[in-house]
């Protein structure tokens, strides 16, 4: 009896810890959100939007790498599919409101994601990465050749248009808050997913796939869904980016971009929600700072060195290392 009582006491304190932990995270997120809302007062809004677009891209990618354990080396294809679709539609049909263009871009990337997933999902590890890379290269050449992408030049002068038909997005402040709202929506969706019943199964698959199978889970189906959602969100990031910069270019489809999102995610911390956001912020900032100074030509080697350092010494990434540090010093 006594034993049972102490047990339930223990349970309660444990649950208490979990709740406190959750509350801390919520407060942290609210602080970050408040900073983002105030940020355009001090930082150039276009630069912030660039960060938010890449952060959303990395968050989408992390759903796959960090929470499902799948390394896609072809996520640039989805970023570009979203970007090009939105760019083409908004340029060609002036009657289209901005959000419709973005929804269409997201839908195109989602469909492309489903196609990729069906081909690649049965492969494991490096083979999965290679197939996604090969498919993304195929998509790249389609974008080079297709008549609606502008080939090497890309699509320029995409109109930002009017959100819901009446909010003029040529206004940079309006544009910023729209991007922020979409980013927050995407982030919350991923947060919801990883904490949902479905997210639990994803974690199980990541940690021990054969065991998940033996517990009756048809793991391929779970992976396909994660892949498709991730592709869709990457496409959403690409669509937003096109609207912000009024430009869809081949850079977004290049495998270099697939590598960059891996770097952002690893650097920030895979399997943490905030990690990819921090990683994207870091990388975009670094690229910008370097390009302003005398080291402009050294961006790639410096990023490469950081990549190596992260993989060798800070496996958990910035956010992961901070979490580990706090865990060690708080208990």
């Amino acid at each position: 009896m006594n034993n049972a009582e102490t047990e339930s006491e223990l349970q309660k304190t444990m649950m208490g810890h979990l709740k406190a932990d959750r509350r801390r995270k919520l407060i942290l997120n609210l602080v970050i959100l408040a900073l983002l809302i105030l940020a355009p007062a001090v930082i150039y809004a276009t630069f912030l939007m660039k960060i938010l677009c890449f952060a959303l891209f990395a968050v989408a990618f992390n759903l796959l790498l960090g929470y499902t354990g799948l390394l896609s080396f072809g996520h640039a294809a989805f970023l570009a599919a979203g970007g090009y679709t939105t760019g083409y539609l908004l340029s060609s049909y002036s009657g289209l409101t901005t959000e419709m263009g973005i929804i269409a871009g997201t839908a195109a990337a989602t469909a492309l994601g489903a196609l990729f997933a069906i081909v690649a999902i049965r492969r494991q590890g490096i083979y999965f990465a290679m197939i996604t890379l090969a498919l993304a290269q195929l998509v790249y050449f389609v974008f080079v050749q297709a008549p609606f992408t502008g080939g090497e030049d890309g699509l320029h002068g995409v109109p930002r248009g009017h959100l819901f038909g009446f909010i003029d997005l040529e206004n940079n402040v309006a544009m910023y808050y729209f991007v922020l709202a979409v980013f927050v929506g995407g982030y919350l969706l991923v947060q919801r997913i990883v904490n949902s019943p479905y997210g639990q199964v994803l974690k199980a698959i990541k940690q021990n796939e054969p065991r998940a199978v033996s517990l009756g889970y048809n793991v391929d189906r779970y992976k396909v869904i994660a892949f498709v959602i991730s592709a869709g969100l990457a496409g959403l990031a690409g669509s937003l980016k096109t609207v912000v910069f009024q430009l869809a270019s081949l850079n977004d489809a290049h495998w270099h971009m697939s590598g960059e999102v891996i770097l952002m995610t690893l650097l920030g911390g895979t399997g943490t929600l905030l990690g990819p956001v921090v990683g994207a912020t870091f990388v975009v900032n670094l690229e910008y700072q370097l390009s302003q100074g005398p080291l402009g030509d050294w961006v790639d080697p410096i990023l490469g060195a950081i990549f190596v350092l992260t993989v060798m010494a800070f496996r958990s990434g910035i956010v992961g290392e901070i979490q580990n540090f706090m865990r060690k010093n708080m208990s």
Binding site: R192, S196, P197, K203, A204, V213, N218
Partner: protein
């Protein structure tokens, strides 16, 4: 339900390139039994296991579960039918808590496992059942411990509890006592005995004292086929069994003598 055999294999064969790992195995596992599959290293025990749970596809032959042909069913599907396996290496989800490990198993039957839009709190109503299961293997105090931090014996206990969460009719245990000290072994023997109540168990086991304590019936596998079957008494007195356990040298000597 009149069929006394829960699991039956008919002329089961698995060939790898130029090598027959499982050769014409006819295995019958009776309802309610703890049935052991023993044999020297490389006899094909784990291969048989992987065939039964569809982690490998048989070259020929049939597998029947309660009279139903499950030869061409997928791993995940037979798990839901009630054939659940454990693994040689401890199969847990290392970065989840003990409770979450079990909850993932229970969730398998909830029908909400694709609900990516639902709050994780919707799983909390499974927690009571999780605690019962943890308690049954003596892990109630570790419910919120991350599994990777549990001692080896406790991980195996957790794995067993997770398997039990599936309410399997037939449990397939692949060397449940492997790599354990003698204290832990006794504990696992008790756990398996408890877990086996009301179900059927087929286990691969090296430790013959475990087999003698637990098992109702034993099949001896050697070089991919069944050498003999019976209870512990019968099997342990069979000279052929001793022969395969003594190794090839003794066998050839004997053949030469004959």
């Amino acid at each position: 339900m009149s069929d006394p055999f829960v699991l039956e294999t008919q002329n089961l064969v698995k060939e790898f390139k130029g090598f027959v790992a499982v050769d014409d195995v006819n295995l019958k596992v009776q309802r309610g039994h703890i049935h052991a599959l023993i044999g020297p290293n490389g006899a094909g025990k784990t291969t048989v296991f992987n065939l039964l749970t569809k982690f490998l596809i048989p070259t020929r032959g049939k597998i029947l579960f309660k009279g139903m042909d499950i030869t061409s069913m997928k791993s995940a599907a037979i798990a839901r039918e009630g054939v659940v396996r454990s693994f040689q290496i401890s199969a847990v989800f290392p970065h989840m808590t003990a409770l979450e490990n079990i909850r993932v198993a229970l969730q398998s039957f909830e029908g909400n496992s694709f609900a990516f839009w639902k709050s994780g709190d919707s799983l909390n109503r499974l927690n009571d059942r999780c605690m019962e299961l943890l308690d049954s293997v003596g892990l109630a105090d570790f419910a919120h411990t991350t599994t990777v931090e549990l001692a080896y014996g406790r991980k195996r206990a957790l794995e067993l509890a997770t398997t039990l969460a599936m309410e399997p009719e037939l449990m397939l245990l692949d060397e449940p006592t492997q790599g354990m000290g003698s204290e832990d072994v006794d504990q696992v023997v008790e756990l398996v005995r408890k877990a086996a109540q009301g179900r059927t168990v087929l286990m691969v086991e090296h430790n013959l004292s475990v087999v003698s304590k637990l098992c109702d019936r034993i099949s001896v596998l050697a070089q991919g086929s069944i050498l003999t079957e019976g209870d512990y008494q019968e099997v342990s007195e069979d000279p052929r069994v001793r022969e395969v356990y003594m190794g090839g040298a003794a066998a050839t000597e004997q053949e030469a003598a004959e």
